[in-house]
Amino acid sequence: MSGGATLLAPSAAREPAAPDTSFGGFVARAAASGQLVVQPRMGFGDPHRMRDGLRRTRDAVATTVGTLTIDSYTRVGDQDAARAALREGTPLNGYPIATHSGEVTRALLEGVRGPAFPVQVRHGSSRPEGIVRALAAAGLDATEGGPVSYCLPYGRTPLAESVENWARCCELLAELVPAPRVPHLESFGGCMLGQLCPPGLLVALSLLEGLFFVRHGIRSVSLSYAQQTDPAQDEEAVRALRRLAAEFLPAGVDRHVVLYTYMGVFPRTARGATRLLEASARLAVRAGAQRLIVKTAAEAHRIPTVQENVRALETAAATAALCGRPTDPPGPADGEVYREARAFVEAVLDLAEDPGRALLTAFARGVLDVPYCLHPDNAGRSRSFVDADGRLRWSEVGAMPVAPYRDAPPGRALTADGLLVALGSVARRHDGPRARP
């Protein structure tokens, strides 16, 4: 032991004072100053349009982060089709990040992306290695998805393969974006199938995917939840997600909650769409989510334009600003959604020490079972419904560790019309003449 004369500098002081350019850091600073971060979905095949979209997102009257949404060909790993479409001039539904060169992507980001405007890559792939390599090569560090949420709803990749791919890609992202930079990964688990999945399962899946990311070396995560059918139930869900994140994610892992404006059948009228968007912004503030992914008034009809996206961002931001700062109600957030989500999380984590293995076993045994999901690795025995008060409930639970709702409709087969009614309930409510806010 040396004498006490030498004071060790605190570790932070020994590191170079680099500005925090991370996605998670940006959201945390915005939240600390009372700003809800709003974000579009946006992707164009043409780099110039993509750059213009990002620039106009940045310049919107709102606290924004940018999005590079990747096209469907790149998502399924069909680089040949993406290349051919660019050659033919067929418009793509997103930016083909693995087809355009790293220089092209860097150039489109140059002078737009920066510490005050981080950009996240959004894709939907169960085989994301090419996308992760391409985004890192372009100097980006934030993306989203997850082994379950980017597999079960979206394709045919076996779940075991997706778990393996995502484990490798988390580690790859951590490796390609070394400290002091902080790679960020968002779980899409709170958005399974967009609609008709009861909140307890959405919250649990998002949390479990967050734990999976952390296990594989990611230290900055966001957990998602998509607005469903009932504002009070949704508020409970976002609070449950925040509480479970605090309880289960290791201390020192940066985290925030991202809310998605309703992802199901969208109102067809501009007024209905705007009401639903505004409701989601209020929900985000009220329940303490730090970021909101918006939808536009064009959503029911086609892929929105940049202008429509900017309008949605500004509408959401203005609505959020009018809500003031969130105030959590006294007492723990231990309502029905929290209890259900916690039952799922505990049942899954009991199955194996490794979160990936636990998730695989849980789906194989039907402990997790996403309603209406066609993927062969989903048990397909659960069913949900919208109850008379508008809350999403379980009618059939299969082998899941939760109970069906006591007032569930008697077990009759769901009809095509019945499904449309359920899928369209939110749209109808917001399009109608007496739409409730």
Partner: protein, 143 residues
């Protein structure tokens, strides 16, 4: 009829497929739902299925905006593979949100038996009735 129901190669959407399965079953048909993101080879393989599950019709549904392109590729691949079954497609087929007559024509020329506009289940039902009644209509762009 035995109906083979399929999403397109790059389309991850499933609610359209869940709905169509229920819709077709309620009309008395047996449905094999291949689900989303079906590569051409898998679709051709399922068309070639023999025995009691042999399909009488292929229904392709797409809503991601790549439907014209992916549907064209799929029907060309099926016809190349010698599949003679009727093949129909419908949904939101382009990114623009409005039907494109030129693209529709290409689908029909490539061997699609019918192209349905988004949500036009009435036209699909009429087509199914016609087919079940033994008539295979001239290739048509419905609605």
């Amino acid at each position: 009829m035995h109906i083979l129901l399929s999403g397109t190669a790059s389309d991850s959407h499933t609610w359209n497929l869940v709905y169509l399965q229920l819709f077709l079953e309620e009309l008395g048909h047996r449905v094999h739902n291949l689900g989303p993101c079906v590569p051409d080879g898998l679709l051709a393989g399922a068309c070639a299925a023999d025995g009691p599950g042999r399909p009488d019709l292929v229904v392709v549904s797409s809503v991601n905006g790549h439907g014209y392109r992916d549907g064209l590729g799929a029907v060309q691949a099926l016809r190349r593979a010698g599949v003679t079954l009727p093949v129909v497609i419908g949904g939101k087929l382009g990114v623009a949100g409005v039907p494109d007559p030129r693209q529709r024509r290409r689908l029909l020329d490539a061997g699609c038996d019918a192209v349905f506009d988004d949500g036009d289940t009435g036209a699909l039902r009429e087509y199914l009735d016609l087919l079940a009644g033994g008539g295979r209509a001239a290739r048509q762009a419905v609605a």
